[in-house]
Symmetry: C2
Subunit: 394 residues, 2 copies
């Protein structure tokens, strides 16, 4: 568990000269007087602290539906280390048998993997027509298949209506179609920006309520900065505001905010929507736009999907990889990529992400001088095979 | 072994309508009369074949020094499938004990891995001051260390002078410093373009004698094309002609030549010098220019080398990765990258390769939206950490 704590308050103090005060919740911002009201989370005592520059890094909060039983024992959002520790304890000592996961996104499916590994009975409820809506349906179904083969039950187009309790402990999940017995429930319904405090103080918010920032990570209020899962990002492919809650994006934004607050100069230009996950035996990755996003933008596009191998066909450990890319018709510009495959598949998304940053066309991609050696790749990397196929379609 | 043959003559004929004639060696080109002289390699019979378009794809040949004993039994260049089969047989049935590898490049070190795996005694002789001269000395020494830890003996700054034979069979390797007992010798001294036939016919050659081609893969003689390890490439970073003999580059060039010969239109813009290899327990990769190449060009540059992890620090299977990048001072433009690390390290070179194709600066690289998830990467990919460190140096 300690290995999951990147830095303790002591390390912050001793190594970086940062006074990291824990158990203190900021409950109000007074921007005109440049001070924040702080409440001690254990004693309840409050006080005011003044600032010259303010960084808001309040992150995201899990979506918790307002339904009966949502606060029952045995219901976890797994958004904090503490929540994870408690869920782990419940599994280790409470011997639950039936696990219901509500939400078929990254967190839900990654948790499904953990529960399957523990030999538990896993059901996943997803309100849309596919799991992993961060992928196109055809790619998402590859992930669903892998979990189903591992024994998970997946219920699509089904909505959470309530939780049944017994003595304060959850015992079933009620959907619009059925009642599923449940000893432990994971609510993996996604997150939303924790921006209420900022919004209340008059700091403008945008997409999904996330705090608006410029490329320096400064809000629309001078001297007030924001970074991480509470801020709006700019999508470099759609050229539109975009909300994404990912640790790696948050970290990069934090660096830029820190440099600027300290008097330096750095810009965070935006994101291309890259994300990866390991789900049971497959690696999953995506970047750029999905088909439905491209359609909503009214772009004319071609899609190319290929089945390849992660290593040379004769090399031990070679396995399947499916690569799908979307490219704009006319210009041939790459606009999105998705990957599902065995070990070695996911990080290939990075080439597609770099290509999106560079505005490469699929024709330019075909001749990318990528690393080849039988232990790592076929002579044509699967990503390039997908690009090669797309060349004929754009 | 059959899995190493990509296509048989039958597949070429039946699936692709290509008349692939084997056991036929072209011994002369008559460009003015548009015909080639062909000799049957078994019968010795010759004849002339006429052509409309000619593609020269004669590949590369291994460098074989003109020294005593070079043709002894037990000496292998391993440049053909047949040579590999014979070496394998010699090991399986001849029970050699002492293996001497001459040349510390990819082939030499990859073979060292194979021999170590078989429990044989391996010595590597290298005439320069480091193995893996495709890396900077500091990165090459990481690879040398891994092989030495595995039991291989490496002799640097030592030149091959001759081979001692007994009854036609090699029994020792003579260098300028010592005599090493040898039951099997691998000559891994690199390759040179097999362009003699083309040069004799008056087709212009350039770098290291490789055939000059334009971006359409056409030689300076109209209607005569060339592709693969017999041609000169253009280096997109140094903007100079460059000779590189790699399967993946050859394959891409072949595609471009084929499209153009068939009346289509495609260009091969050039290479950035990417190469990868697995050597015993480490993965090795490089792209762009080395320090000595940058120095020869007279560029002012900064170098950044970092030690990172392939996965999140707490994730099972995480391991060491060293990333080194070179960037031009002033512009901040990336000009080269090298990686040595455990599983998952090598293919990270692809991001650096794409960045070279895109002409990215290290500042632009820092914010690349690469895939993050604990099984695949730390929050900051090691490649980005190297770029981040370089930002302060350029």
């Amino acid at each position: 568990m300690n290995s999951l704590i990147v830095r303790t308050p002591e390390i912050f103090r001793e190594k970086q000269g940062i006074d990291a005060r824990i158990l203190q919740r900021v409950v109000d911002l007074n921007l005109s007087e440049k001070r924040v009201q702080v409440e001690h989370t254990e004693t309840g005592k409050t006080g005011w602290e003044s600032f010259d520059q303010l960084l808001i890094a309040t992150g995201a909060l899990p979506i918790r539906p307002n339904i009966p039983g949502v606060n029952a024992r045995g219901v976890y959002a797994l958004n904090t280390l503490q929540s994870g520790i408690e869920a782990r304890k419940a599994i280790d000592h409470g011997s639950p048998k039936n696990i219901v996961i509500v939400g078929g996104g990254y967190i839900g499916l990654e948790m499904a993997e953990s529960f399957i590994t523990r030999g538990l009975d896993v059901s996943i409820i997803e309100k849309t027509a596919q799991v992993m809506t961060t992928l196109d349906p055809d790619m998402g179904s590859l992930v669903a298949q892998v979990l189903q083969d591992a024994g998970a039950k997946i219920y699509l187009n089904e909505s959470l209506k309530g939780l049944e309790m017994h003595g304060g402990q959850v015992r079933a999940v009620i959907t619009d179609k059925q009642t599923l017995p449940a000893d432990l429930v994971v609510l993996a319904l996604g997150v939303y920006p924790n921006s209420a405090l900022a919004a209340k103080a008059g700091i403008p918010t945008g997409e999904k309520g996330a705090i608006k920032v410029n490329k320096r990570m400064e809000t629309e209020v001078q001297g007030v900065w924001a970074a991480g899962n509470c801020v709006e990002s700019f999508h470099l492919v759609s050229r539109r505001p975009f909300y994404i809650a990912l640790g790696t994006v948050a970290n990069k934004q934090g660096r830029v905010a820190g440099i600027n607050i300290a008097g330096g100069s750095a810009l965070f230009p935006g994101v291309v929507g890259t994300a990866t996950a390991k789900i049971w035996t497959v690696e999953v990755a995506r970047t750029g736009l999905l088909e439905n996003e491209v359609q909503q933008m009214g772009l004319s596009y071609a899609s190319s999907r290929i089945e390849g191998r992660t290593r040379a066909g004769y090399y031990p450990g070679t396995g399947r990889i499916t690569v799908k890319i979307l490219a704009e018709k006319g210009t041939g510009r790459l606009i999105g990529g998705q990957i599902v495959g065995v070990e070695g598949a996911a990080k290939r998304i990075d080439v597609l992400a770099a290509a999106l940053h560079g505005g490469f066309t699929v024709e330019e991609m075909v001749n990318l001088d990528l690393g080849y050696s039988p232990p790592f790749s076929p002579v044509w990397d699967p990503v390039l095979i997908a690009a090669r196929q797309a060349v004929g379609l754009v």
